[in-house]
Assembly symmetry: C2
Homo-oligomer: 473 residues x 2
Amino acid sequence: MENRLSKKLFWRSACFTLSFIFTLTLNVSAQTKEHETDATFIDRIYDQSLTDGRCYPWLEFLSLQIGHRLSGSPGAAKAVNWTKSMLDTLGLDSVWLQPCMVPHWVRGEPEQVRLIGSKKNGTFPLAALALGGSVAGKVQADVVEVDSWEQLDQLGAAGKLKGKIAFYNRPMDPTKIRTFEAYGGCVDQRVGGASRASKYGAVAVLVRSMTLRLDDFPHTGTMHYDSAYTLIPAAAISTIAAEALSQTLREEGRAKVSIQLNCKTLPDAPSFNVIGEIRGSDRPNDIILVGGHLDSWDVGHGSHDDGAGVVQSMDVLRVLKTLGYRPRHTIRCVLFMNEENGLRGGKAYAKEAARKGEFPLASIESDAGGFTPRGFSFEGDESVFGKFFEKLTTYESHFAPYGLQFRKGGSGADISPLRGMKGLLSGYSPDSQRYFDYHHAESDTFDKVNKRELELGTASMAALVYLIDKYGL
Amino acid sequence: MENRLSKKLFWRSACFTLSFIFTLTLNVSAQTKEHETDATFIDRIYDQSLTDGRCYPWLEFLSLQIGHRLSGSPGAAKAVNWTKSMLDTLGLDSVWLQPCMVPHWVRGEPEQVRLIGSKKNGTFPLAALALGGSVAGKVQADVVEVDSWEQLDQLGAAGKLKGKIAFYNRPMDPTKIRTFEAYGGCVDQRVGGASRASKYGAVAVLVRSMTLRLDDFPHTGTMHYDSAYTLIPAAAISTIAAEALSQTLREEGRAKVSIQLNCKTLPDAPSFNVIGEIRGSDRPNDIILVGGHLDSWDVGHGSHDDGAGVVQSMDVLRVLKTLGYRPRHTIRCVLFMNEENGLRGGKAYAKEAARKGEFPLASIESDAGGFTPRGFSFEGDESVFGKFFEKLTTYESHFAPYGLQFRKGGSGADISPLRGMKGLLSGYSPDSQRYFDYHHAESDTFDKVNKRELELGTASMAALVYLIDKYGL
């Protein structure tokens, strides 16, 4: 009896095992085949981008024919019209402008910042740029160097900032491997420094430029006032100027600086996000977004920040279209207006998406320069994020031949207003070592962008779009 | 009985399991602690390099004060003396010059290559550089474009190359993600093209420059003659010139070109490898080598090829010395002479190492530019290689925070003569996208090198040296 049972059990289990192995083999073989199909298509995406890419000549036009394009400026208006006209040539299902009102700050006549009457070096100019949003002003006063918020508060409490120019000189930390971390570690000085010094009676602020290079380019960027305190002028000075000023203070015990800023905030101006899409065949209301921001600061060409993200996002749609890809979900390219000083485009887009009841399935932003791809970072609502990431690990293997890796982390400013809608948010991550050399400075010009690096970025984004479209999340 | 046996077995196995778990826990905890110690030291290496690195100012001097340094040239002699004098300041255990005779080829008066009497464009210059090793010559003849070896043989067999200039125009393949593969796929035209065309009666050769960019910089490089055939002049032309020449042939059916090269091969000249070392406390005869090559082509500054590898190798020793690291094995920096056109330095080094009975435990070459680190490639004798790689996978985890990955693959030309001695050979692999933009061209200048990218390379090499020194292979 026992023997018969054993035999029966043996055969049952053998049959089960065999059928299990059979099914497994079929599955594995189907999966392998699918993996190969995907790998082949992704290869075609990279080949298309590297042999027939449009992003580089587009960036050349945007940089050299249009140039910088701060919100509200003629350059921004030209960039809206020209990118729309380019999207119009791609045979997309829809291309449109999405209106939004934007802040309109102008620099006016070039700023003048001078160190006055140094014993050792006399009077000489400090390379400077007014911070975006600063008020105009003409002051001459002694400078007090501030290297931390604690120091600011101590100096302020002791009355030592009254009538003085506060000089924020805390540098980016060169030991951070990801330069964005180093930037994150000191940009608070630029954004909030003016009002925090004004609270203690300071009459103006100078901020060391947010860059890891020692050179003579000042780097501008946005700043905000706290309306509780007097609005005082605020400017960035180059790292060389910051070192000179700091050295003068150290060696001579004091330094007097004159500042003249001629900037002005005009009434808000009408502008647009530029949008193009390939309509999804299966789930048209689920949106896979690729985007960057069309506005830039009012210096250089804005080629890395964020001309690169703009032309890559446009080219993702062109590459997929050229390869005859028919998406299940709607694939949409969004060129956001006003990332730099207001995020009005991003907010308008999110509001409209909510109104239309769209689901932002995945939103990928390229706003970290046009350098060699290193990977993507992902963030999303925890309740859906778990599922996402299991598949993403499988997706990641497709990027190994191209040297990209995935990680959890922040995505992009323009897509951040979509956070509440529980889709996946992703930031395209190119190599970050050179980004802050050019960020918000005259040196962010077209010649700093390498054609292949830019094209590899387009291909990487298109490949991720393809996988997410094919498999969902 | 059966019951008692079961119990006994149960307790035995329980005791064994517990003691196993205990030992395992101890081991794992010891390993974790060791891993942390290593991670901390590697962090210090990166911090040292990024805050106090010397490689960048050294490269500035080598590039701007010495400049290019082809074997046998005054620049090469200066570079030998100056790098030795820098190594002398580092408090190493020994610094010395290792003699070797090197080829001495000189370009002479600038070459002149002109397209003659095009119907559409008249006569105009083609940007050209004689290939290293070419004979001088003055010829004027019709051009025949050659895009493959098969085509060459067909044209040759049909007598169509007789008295003609062969124009090799097979481009680098832009779809290769690693640009070195694309280079490997067409450099045969430059190296062997002259004699293969001379065999069929060609009077000179022009070669499309080995670059992925479309610009007007010709890229030189070494070539070899087969003494069985007449030695004919050979020059590289820029990709723009190659496109113009090809278009003329396509549109007008023929193109005539005049070539004048003024180069000369002089008798071999005496030169040196420059070597410095920190002597190992435990196994001084086992050598961990870091190196690059001191010579360059006779154009530009040779900053990426291979000034970067030179200063990084020097700085690896300085970083370890500054951190007070006392190595078990001898850590040696070797600045090889004559990689570009003879490899005499590499051969002399290997010969001397064999004579002294040294074991080249690990040799790491940096000769792929000073760009952001992407990883290391490894090759070695199969009989020892297996062991190596198990540990290397553990080592690799230490590089994850810095974005480096390991792979099997080629190492470097200068260390290749060590291959027979069964040590580990490694190539430092920076990002390759921009390398061939500048390789062997006037545009390989100091301003193309980013300080942080260079310093990160130094740190990566120093970290690998540290791990190999600590754990052996």
